[in-house]
């Protein structure tokens, strides 16, 4: 009887020792890049909806950051708002409210950028997400995925996106894409190849935001 009790105690303590403390494994980290260049800046209303969806879906302990894609996006200055939600649900709700207020403020004073540095944004996003130590790391790119780099901006080197999920949202078709759809398909294929080569675990394209929005956070097994 005593031996049985001892075994039970050992088992329960080992269970606690193995499981406790590593709560970050279950948390999600989301870094959202919002393209503000040229005509795409008109799509910002949709981006706000996506951010609201993320705010509604993410749980206490999760991290969220929203950054704009500028001429050179590898900088913290482009991060509009970032937060790691408190463990307490009531505090997390307050943080979500504050986050929403920041996004609303940003959407009122948006300025279009001349170039689109998506790669720089991805590198910045990966850096942020690695710091959060979240279990699932997702970089959401709200862009037409047409990268345009300014003079002096160097991005043609291998990047590291190990363990990241890359979700391309609302990849609109440009006029040239309409004329020759291969351009659009090649663009997506190039991005997929690039992120997969960088170590991303998933590449997802979501264009139907009304019906497929949950794919942003749903991990494919």
């Amino acid at each position: 009887m005593k031996n049985g009790l001892l075994i039970l105690m050992l088992l329960s303590s080992s269970l606690f020792a193995s499981g406790c403390g590593d709560s970050r494994i279950h948390s999600q980290g989301v870094y959202m890049l919002v393209d503000t260049s040229g005509t795409y800046s008109q799509e910002l209303v949709k981006a706000t909806k996506i951010i609201n969806y993320l705010l509604a879906t993410l749980n206490p302990g999760d991290s969220l950051a929203v950054a704009k894609v500028e001429t050179r996006s590898f900088t913290e200055k482009d991060i509009i708002a970032k937060v790691t939600f408190d463990n307490r649900p009531s505090q997390a709700t307050q943080q979500k409210r504050a986050f929403k207020a920041k996004i609303d403020e940003f959407s009122g004073q948006i300025k279009g950028s001349a170039y689109t540095d998506i790669t720089g944004g991805l590198i910045q996003g990966a850096e942020y997400l690695n710091e959060t130590k979240a279990g699932t790391k997702t970089i959401v790119v709200f862009s037409d995925m047409q990268e345009e780099l300014g003079t002096g901006t160097v991005r043609d080197f291998p990047i590291k996106l190990d363990g990241m999920r890359i979700v391309a949202l609302n990849v609109t078709k440009l006029n040239a894409d309409n004329a020759d759809p291969r351009i659009y398909l090649d663009r997506l294929a190039r991005w997929e190849e690039k992120v997969r080569k960088a170590g991303a675990t998933e590449w997802i394209v979501v264009n139907d935001l009304d019906n497929n929005i949950e794919s942003i956070l749903k991990t494919r097994k």
């Binding site: 509604a56 463990n87 709700t93």
Partner: protein, 479 residues
């Protein structure tokens, strides 16, 4: 297809190859007939013997287990019936002690009433005696021999006096009767009081009688258990099954209550222990904390019922002295009340969290807030709080069916094990018998493909026998 062709001697002529293969196979099977029959026999024999052995072991084990179950069941029932009888005697002794205390007073009251009634009765019995002088006067008058006016006048005077006295006496008599009636009327309450006292005594005796009958019933059961009567064993086993079914039903209902309880406190618990902490991959710390609170409530309920001697799962608590037991009872009750209060406040917290989240969702969806907050919207909150406070107490009573499950489960599992072992034993015995018969069947099945060589063998044997018979006959003739 390719693999199949690799078995052919001449892949171009399949039929010839198959024929050659068949001949080879039949030859081999014919040659290996004797050893193969031996193998079949041995294998079947082995299966038969081993199944028989295992089946026998199972039957023996089932028997010993049944005996063990019986002794455990009898011991447990013995103990519980002894407790019942003990409690029944305690109840009887309480009745007797209580009633006997009242009995002298009751008796004294009864005696007083009886004395009063006797007095009244005696008073009623007193009749005023007739005036004796008149009798003597009448006798003297009757002895006067000669008639005349004097005696007549005398008699008339006497008559007058008698009439007068008679009237007076009758009036006296009537008054006396009136007085006696009054006394009897006065004795009526005493009679009623006596009747009431007698009724009370009768009632108490009836209670005592019913208790005595119950004790008789328990004693009969007790003696049949002591005698290890098979009827009693059967009745106890059936009772264990019924008890288990009822207790499980009640436990399931309690589990439903516990689930609702869990749902009430799981979300607000995340406010206390954190929503993103996990114990294992899928087990949130807040969920476990909620579960622990519920289990603690159940444990406190268990201790409360134990200290009240309603259940007897822990002999140590039952054997505690009364003062210690009372302390434990108060301690568990206080803990239960505290836990209920915590749960009630958590239910309130849950409501606040949910409404806060709903408000955020409305903000995110850019939906206008609800028009007004009327008192009706507070009903669910009040309901949650009341449920949060009441459910722990309701959950406390789960200790009663739990005790029943613990006691009856052993008997039920024991009976089921015995039945399973017997069933397995029977199945194995059957398999053994089947294999013993199948040995011959397998031999015949083996002989079917080699029927042609066997026929040739039989023909050769017959030919040889005939030749030898002829040779013997020839030798006999020549000799």
């Amino acid at each position: 297809m390719g693999e199949w062709h690799s078995w052919l001697f001449w892949p171009d002529s399949v039929a010839l190859s198959i024929l050659a293969l068949s001949v080879l196979l039949i030859t081999f099977m014919y040659a290996a007939r004797e050893p193969m029959h031996g193998v079949i026999h041995s294998v079947c024999n082995l299966v038969t013997q081993s199944t028989r052995f295992v089946s026998r072991w199972l039957f023996l084990s089932a028997d010993s287990m049944r005996l063990r179950n019986q002794s455990v069941l009898m011991a447990h029932s013995h103990e519980s019936i002894a407790t019942l009888i003990d409690r029944e005697f305690e109840r009887v002794s309480n009745i007797i002690r209580k009633d006997m205390q009242e009995f002298p007073a009751l008796q004294r009251k009864l005696m007083e009433e009886v004395t009063r009634i006797e007095d009244d009765y005696r008073k009623c019995g007193e009749v005023p005696p007739p005036p004796p002088e008149w009798v003597n006067a009448l006798e003297s008058v009757s002895q006067i021999k000669a008639g005349g006016d004097i005696p007549r006048k005398l008699l008339e005077d006497i008559n007058k006096s008698i009439q007068k006295i008679h009237d007076k006496t009758v009036a006296e008599f009537r008054r006396s009767y009136e007085e006696r009636h009054k006394i009897l009327k006065g004795a009526q309450p005493s009679w009623r009081s006596v009747e009431k006292l007698m009724g009370e005594m009768d009632k108490k005796l009836v209670t005592l009688n019913s208790n005595a009958k119950q004790i008789d019933g328990h004693m009969a059961k007790f003696s049949s258990i002591r005698a290890k009567d098979s009827k009693a064993e059967h009745a106890l086993t059936t009772s264990a099954f019924v008890q288990l079914a009822i207790s499980l039903l009640v436990m399931m209902i309690a589990m439903g209550g516990a689930f609702i309880n869990y749902k009430l406190i799981a979300l607000p618990m995340s406010e206390m222990v954190g929503a993103s902490d996990y114990i294992t991959n899928d087990l949130k710390t807040s969920d476990v904390a909620a579960l622990v609170i519920i289990l603690m409530e159940a444990s406190m309920g268990l201790f409360l019922l134990e200290s009240l001697r309603i259940t007897q799962l822990f002999p140590k608590i039952a054997s505690m002295d009364d003062r210690m037991r009372r302390r434990l009872m108060f301690a568990s009750l206080i803990f239960l009340v505290i836990l209920a209060a915590i749960e009630s406040s958590l239910a309130l917290m849950r409501d606040i969290l949910i409404s806060d989240k709903a408000s955020l969702m409305r903000d995110l969806a850019s939906v206008a807030p609800p028009v007004s907050e009327s008192w009706i919207s507070n009903i669910p909150m009040a309901g949650q709080m009341i449920m949060g406070f009441v459910l722990p107490f309701a959950l406390a009573f789960v200790a009663i069916p739990l005790e029943s499950v613990v006691h009856s489960l052993r008997t039920v599992i024991g009976v089921l094990l015995v039945q399973t072992m017997r069933g397995l034993g029977f199945g194995l015995r059957f398999i053994g018998v089947v294999f013993r018969r199948f040995a011959r069947v397998f031999e015949l099945v083996y002989d079917i493909p080699i029927v042609i060589p066997l026929m040739i063998e039989r023909w050769v044997m017959t030919l040889r026998d005939t030749q030898s018979v002829r040779v013997h006959a020839k030798q006999r003739v020549t000799s």
